[in-house]
Point group: C2
Chain length 466, copies 2
């Protein structure tokens, strides 16, 4: 493909995406295919000779779209959003076009420096503590997901707690980690990966608002200490996956300080809310955290993957991951004057993901991003009001931000049927969770294109179906 | 940004990339900036209000390009290639435009099924064993990098060796892993991450061709067994990073079988060569491997990230990673009829990366991809001939594929100066390694746009500089 053919094929592709976004509300939000149905539409064997670009684009409509669950639909209210935006898509396109590797500063200095710079911007934009900035002893790095960020935090904590010996010698004692019963499953996964063991993750009780109970945390740590185990890591959640519950980070941080235990704060979804000064209360206590992450790929208009992971002591993180074989040695690295981001996570190679963040922040401006957050939070509060005013429904958890957990008062079976029928209608997509043992419907409002009318229609559909 | 504004901004972005590719040879291949120089060009604070798209694109030229090392330049001969292509870039663009999450089959069935399908295609395209196909008990999954694939393989091996108890209970014995002194540093990194310990990775001696010595492997395993340790994992390399040495996989596999040790084959760079039947000898013995990976993002015209990771027993891999909280439960998962790829690696969320592979394979066809590989291998053989024919230079390792390791006979100092001067010229970019204690220049030929004239010019520059 010559550059001119690329221009032509590129325009067709851009047009295809624009048309997809224009028509997105026509598709059933949740894909309606059975297992194996998409594969049966695909050619059994790869072609020997190249095919026309037009034929490939046509198959997007004929073969791929029927198997797509439309995450960018304004009627997608499931899980947490993954709200991309045109600016992010084009920033990512430039990254693909440049095709550089950012494993070392030297392999493309702009890739590293823009990342450091934009992640420092975000510290200010979210009102995060200065200790997470690169100008001091901390710093930020883009990870693919909050699961990977949790793993990195847990590993750095494991090393700090064992005098940086485990990495070299292997796990040689029982290390215990703590998070709430409502925390994300990535914590257990990380403990398994790190050789700490899933059973050594204590799932701490929550209060009526689904937030971690500091007294229960304190008792669990004490019990492990008495038994000769080594408490090393606490993960507090700002905005749990089930219900956006917010753990009491100030009290948890005080315990971590006293016990010399690493504190990681996972704000994967909720963190973006702190763009708005009036919502920064969610980050109370984060100034005492050893690490923190939030995902612009969830609620800051930046397409996946983009998790921003911060540490207060980058030296400890780097010491956890650094290995330098001869073929990666270079003067810039040896000068110590640069960051080599390959030492901040598991993968070696890395894309130029800071570009899409830079495009998003510049295209929308801080005020533009705040407007999106405020719209989503406002709509969720309004929806919660509608639920509260309808006798057939009840709110199942507080609604601090943009997720409404609610249920029909008639019990689990009714809620399950309601959920299945709504999703089968194709007109919206909700998911569920369990709170206090009971089935709960979740409506998360965070779509780039979600307006009041979509939320209103969703509520009408829910009431009608009920 | 409305869909029409996206059309307009998208065309500008496509044009920007096309022009970049047209003009790429004008830029110095290796960026010429000092640490901090790019950051100083960036706005100190993020903008409050959104900025025009044109201003952002303009800054790509003014601020970003000076800090780019041009991996897509036909004069880039450093590291291993990361050879993107227009078809891949556009496939990735569609993925960004759709913005779906492929963590579960249910969250976008096409994302999972196209991935399974294309990875099955690749088994046939590379002549890999049928045990890696999804139709049997194996299967393939896209990982970000070979580092992550190594980690996944090592973890699945750790679990198999300990009856799937370590994940739950933590590391409770000394587990030992084996790879050659020439293997990629990701192995040591993975052993640290997994709690096995870097010191429990035995770096096995190599022969004169830099390939692992099976007799030394056998002795190391026996010694560890005698000392009461648990050998659990061997990583053989097909195409080492330093010199594309190819470990004797058949002999290694026989030892692994006898010792009941997991065999992972890392063909990150070289694997793509097997697209050509005449080069499939590189995969001798892979039919006995428990896992295997290669990176289309290195040498198969697919932009980063895209590592294809295969296992013979997907059940063991899934058992290593699976955690299912309530909010991810769904009927398709519970039916057992689908793959949920989040259980095949560390991250939960995942992009629709199979699209770019599908675009590449269909756009070029198998024959088109083979033509690229053959061109690169042919050019490298030719270059090796020129080196061998010049008294001032010598080949430093065999040249099985597209990497030439060579040096000036005058010794390390001369080679270092030669390397520095060549890279400072901006006209090409080489990197180095050490083989047998001596500094060696590496010239890797794999650029999408690298033609004979670029390699000829490189050789002229090298001779002139010498």
């Amino acid at each position: 493909m010559t550059p001119d053919q690329f221009r032509d094929a590129g325009r067709q592709t851009i047009d295809w995406i624009a048309r997809y976004l224009e028509e997105i509300e026509r598709y059933p939000v949740l894909a309606r295919v059975a297992p194996g149905e998409i594969r049966r539409r695909l050619a059994e064997r790869p072609p020997d000779q190249g095919q026309p670009f037009e034929a490939i684009l046509r198959d997007l409509d004929d073969v791929i779209l029927p198997g797509i669950t439309h995450w960018q639909s304004p009627n997608f209210f499931a899980y947490f959003p993954a709200n991309a935006s045109p600016a992010a898509v084009l920033g990512d396109l430039v990254s693909a076009g440049l095709g550089v590797q950012g494993m070392l500063w030297a392999t493309s200095p702009a890739c590293t420096e823009l990342e450091t710079h934009v992640l420092d911007w975000l510290v200010d934009m979210l009102g995060l503590p200065a200790r997470f900035k690169s100008s001091g002893s901390g710093g930020g790095v883009i990870q693919d997901t909050a699961s990977s960020a949790s793993l990195c935090a847990l590993l750095a904590a494991r090393e700090r707690a064992t005098g940086f010996r485990t990495n070299d010698a292997g796990v040689d004692r029982v290390l215990t980690a703590y998070t709430s019963t409502q925390a994300h499953s990535s914590l257990e996964k990380a403990a398994g990966v790190a050789g700490v063991g899933r059973r050594n993750v204590r799932l701490i009780d929550v209060d009526a608002a689904q937030a971690m109970r500091p007294d229960a945390l304190e008792r669990a740590i004490a019990e492990d200490r008495r038994a000769g185990r080594t408490p090393f890591f606490v993960c507090a959640t700002v905005g749990t996956t089930s219900s956006t519950a917010i753990d009491p980070v100030p009290a948890i941080a005080e315990i971590c300080r006293r016990e010399s235990v690493w504190l990681h704060v996972d704000a994967a979804h909720a963190g973006s809310a702190a763009l708005c000064p009036e919502l920064r209360w969610i980050h109370a206590g984060v100034e005492h955290a050893d690490s923190y992450c939030f995902n612009p790929h969830k609620w800051m208009l930046t397409n996946f993957d983009c998790d921003c992971f911060y540490v207060a002591d980058r030296g400890g993180l780097i010491a956890t991951f650094s290995v330098t074989p001869e073929y990666l040695r270079n003067p810039a690295t040896e000068s110590g004057a640069v960051f080599d981001y390959r030492d901040w996570h598991v993968p070696l190679g890395r894309r130029f993901r800071a570009l899409k963040l830079w495009f998003v922040i510049r295209h929308y401006g801080v005020e533009g991003l705040r407007a999106h957050i405020r719209r989503h939070v406002g709509l969720a509060q309004e929806f919660a009001g509608w639920v509260a005013a309808d006798d057939r429904f009840e709110l199942a958890a507080p609604v601090p931000l943009n997720l409404v957990c609610f249920r029909h008062v008639a019990g689990d079976e009714t809620n399950q049927r309601l959920l299945d029928d709504l999703n089968a209608s194709g007109r919206l997509y909700l998911t569920h969770t369990r709170l206090g043992g009971r089935l709960v419907l979740r409506l998360a409002i965070g779509g780039t294109y979600t307006e009041r009318r979509h939320v209103e229609t969703a509520w009408q559909l829910i009431r009608k179906q009920a």
